[in-house]
């Protein structure tokens, strides 16, 4: 159990790489900089692998990116026992710890789950990006429905990219294996796995009963903030889902207008032209509404939902930090009471004390990074949505204005009409 939390694979990589002044871009985490230099590649190599990206790609400082990952090409894979989707994961990198500069592997959702699990295990107080959910409860969405797969694919893509942008997680051995190994199953069997995690959970429960006596104030504040934030972001997510639902129902009804106006036009003579005009206007507005709904559900909602999941992750991170501290406190108390094995126990307690400090530092560093990301991501999602709304109304406005223009006679014509009267 000891040594698990100090990422051994992490330090392995530290030996090869130089410190670089670009360090600041990745993290404001000065505590980590003291311990071990951050890996980075010379900025000269940067622009070689620039991929065109869709809207989810974070606006990263271009000079720092040395690894590019895409998740695409979902394919159904059928075996005797089950059917599942395999996604293609393509990695292009200039990092020296990678033997090649380009990799292509096939991964299924379970593999992503495995990766995340290992990352969380190795870095219990880092905020690991969330994965899209296993199931979609509401609406009974069929698992292999195209929209579902596409949404999931985008989220998986985002997941890997977020990891690659993380100053510590990016260099995880498991991450490298995930991106490069053709066969993942052999790697999956290594490591503690299920049983030890069980042990962890039991311990965690015991500790939570015990409680944390001296949790530092800043972590208490973090915890409270996280609770509140979680509530709020869940509400925003729910409101957005509701808006999408209402918009869909509105669109359904709106679509009834066109055939009705068209039908009416068929009975009319002089009135037929303006009626058809209105029918056409409504149809175009319907298309705009459809596009707007698409934006909401493909851009805004996933962005919000990611942070709903993030909030849960942060809560778990808080709990784990508390457990680490509780572990230490328990052993510390034991040390005070026991007279035998003092030396061995002392060593253990010291180890645990280190562990607490590392955990706290890791969390503090990651916390501000997470906050910044949250602000950036959500701000951009909201701005984008506001822009889309403005665009929507502008397009509809143009539609109706052109209709109006077609109905009003020219000013000159109007004067003639008045004279003739």
């Amino acid at each position: 159990m000891s040594g698990q939390t100090v990422p051994a694979d992490f330090t392995e990589h530290m030996l090869d790489l130089d410190e670089d002044e670009d360090l600041e871009v990745f993290s404001k985490n000065t505590s980590l900089a003291d311990e071990s230099p951050m890996p980075n590649s010379p900025s000269s190599m940067v622009n070689q692998y620039r991929l065109e990206e869709d809207e989810e790609e974070q606006q990263q400082d271009a000079s720092a990116k040395d690894i590019f990952i895409t998740v695409d090409n979902p394919e159904s894979h059928v075996t005797a026992i089950e059917t599942f989707i395999l996604y293609r994961v393509v990695t292009k990198t200039t990092r020296s710890e990678f033997d090649s500069s380009e990799y292509e592997v096939r991964r299924r959702y379970q593999d992503f789950l495995w990766l995340r699990g290992r990352l969380e295990e190795n870095h219990p107080t880092l905020i690991v990006p969330p994965l899209p959910e296993k199931f979609v409860m509401k609406g009974m969405v069929e698992r292999f429905n195209d929209d579902f797969i596409e949404t999931r694919r985008k989220a998986l893509h985002r997941f890997l990219n977020k990891i690659s942008e993380h100053p510590i997680l990016s260099f995880s051995q498991h991450f490298k294996v995930f991106l490069t190994a053709q066969e993942l199953s052999s790697h999956k069997k290594q490591g503690p796995g299920f049983l030890s995690r069980m042990g962890e959970t039991v311990k965690a429960m015991a500790n939570s009963v015990r409680g944390v006596r001296t949790r530092p104030e800043e972590f208490t504040q973090m915890q409270e903030y996280t609770e509140d934030f979680s509530n709020k972001i869940c509400s925003v997510d729910k409101v957005t889902q509701r808006i999408i639902k209402e918009q869909r129902e509105y669109l359904d009804e709106l679509r009834q207008y066109t055939p009705t106006y068209t039908q009416w036009a068929e009975s009319e003579e002089d009135l037929a032209e303006p009626l058809k005009g209105v029918a056409s206007c409504v149809e175009r507005c319907s298309k705009e509404t459809e596009e707007h709904i698409h934006h909401l559900s493909e851009v805004l909602l996933p962005a919000l939902h990611e942070y709903v999941l993030c909030a849960e992750t942060v809560k778990a991170v808080m709990r784990r930090r508390d457990n680490i501290q509780a572990d230490y406190e328990a052993k510390n108390e034991a040390l005070a009471s026991r007279k035998v094995d003092q030396e061995a126990l002392q060593e253990e307690v010291d180890g645990l004390a280190d562990r607490v400090e590392q955990a706290n530092n890791a969390l503090k560093g990651d916390w501000s990074r997470w906050q910044d990301n949250m602000r950036t991501d959500l701000k951009s999602a909201f701005i984008c949505t506001a822009e889309k709304n403005v665009e929507y109304y502008e397009k509809c406005l143009a539609v109706w204005e052109s209709f109006l223009l077609s109905q009003r006679p020219e000013p000159e014509e109007q004067r003639d009409m008045e004279d003739a009267a």
Binding site: E246, Q247, L271, R375, F382, I383, A386, Y393, C396
Partner: protein, 437 residues
Amino acid sequence: MMADSGSNEEVAVIGNTDITSTESENNIINTMVERGTALLKKMEINVAEAEKRTGKNTVNMQETYTVYLIETRPAETVPEGGTPAAPDTLWRRYSEFELLRTYLLVTYPYIIIPPLPEKRAEFVWHKLSADNLDPDFVERRRVGLENYLLRVASHPVLSNDKIFFLFLTEEKGWREAVLETGFQDKVDSRLKSLSAAFRVKNPDKRFTALKQYSDELNTVISQLLRVRARVADRLYGVYKVHGNYGRVFSEWSAIEKEMGDGLQSAGHHMDTYAASIDDILEEEEHYADQLKEYFFYTDAVRSVCRKHELIQYELEIAAQDLAHKKQLKEELATGTVRVFSLKGMTSKLFGQESPEQRESKLAALEQSIQEGEQALKEKNSECQEFVRTAWEDIERFKEQKDNDLREALISYAIMQISMCKKGIQVWSNAKECFNKM
């Protein structure tokens, strides 16, 4: 726009004389009314107010009803800085409007009588109250009643009717005056014409086409009104849910440092957005009312067609009757029996009648034929007159309908534009706030 004696164009005075050109363009207050008729040259007509009254009804039970204040005023230009003369006023309730309309229907069966606004709120979307005493409904009905009076007052034929004039000017004693006209008798015959199932042998194609058009219009407008109500319902939902953003953003801003201000102010704009739908849909009700008027007009059109059918039928019967009598006369004169008649059979069985009997019979038949010919002539001219006057009104109505509905569609477009502009404004503001996050 007061009746301006200087201009050539007689413009009907619409209720609110403070109407601006943009307002009249937007048809906020009232639908288009035709150029001034003799009546409107003389007076302005307003339905100015509505009031609740309680009283005992015919079965001696307490009831609450609404009365409407009708103002009339001689139409004359007001000198600069002067105040218009005080109007004459009287109160009328809805049932009296209905009585007036029934009177007009039976007295001018060849005219498409303007419809009344609906008695009960139909085609409602759920937020709108279906209660007759709801203030919004009462207000819209007030506007509808004013529109009705202006329609009648601007009609080339109806505006000259004495009973209509008394309706506007005599509060008491009007009911008696109406009943004195004896129109009640004609009510039954009208009901008969509307409900009877008779077949016309040679239907007038124009009237058939008109009836069919009227049915189609009726169907399509009612469908449109139903769709509109559902769309309004849904749109209301979309806007109102955004109000929840306002609430949540506000709460969320309390726990954020950098993002707080941006979120808070964005939240306010979301509240504004949510609230804006009320006015938008209120305006749309006017559009719906304009459609409803023509939905109700289709009944009046149908009614004229049916009346024509009845007259046509009666004409055909009269012609048939006459032909039959002539046939009988011929048989009697020549002694041949081509047409079966009981008399003929009995005379065959029981012996021929005497020459004197035959003579008298012939004379009676001759008399009947003369009467029949006269009746046919009268019926024929009645029919022709009906067709002539009806088609005059129908042409007038068609033009009115095309103008009004075109204007209604334009005003609908204007409403949509206004809604879009509001949306652009709110979301631009929200975007600014998000930028500050």
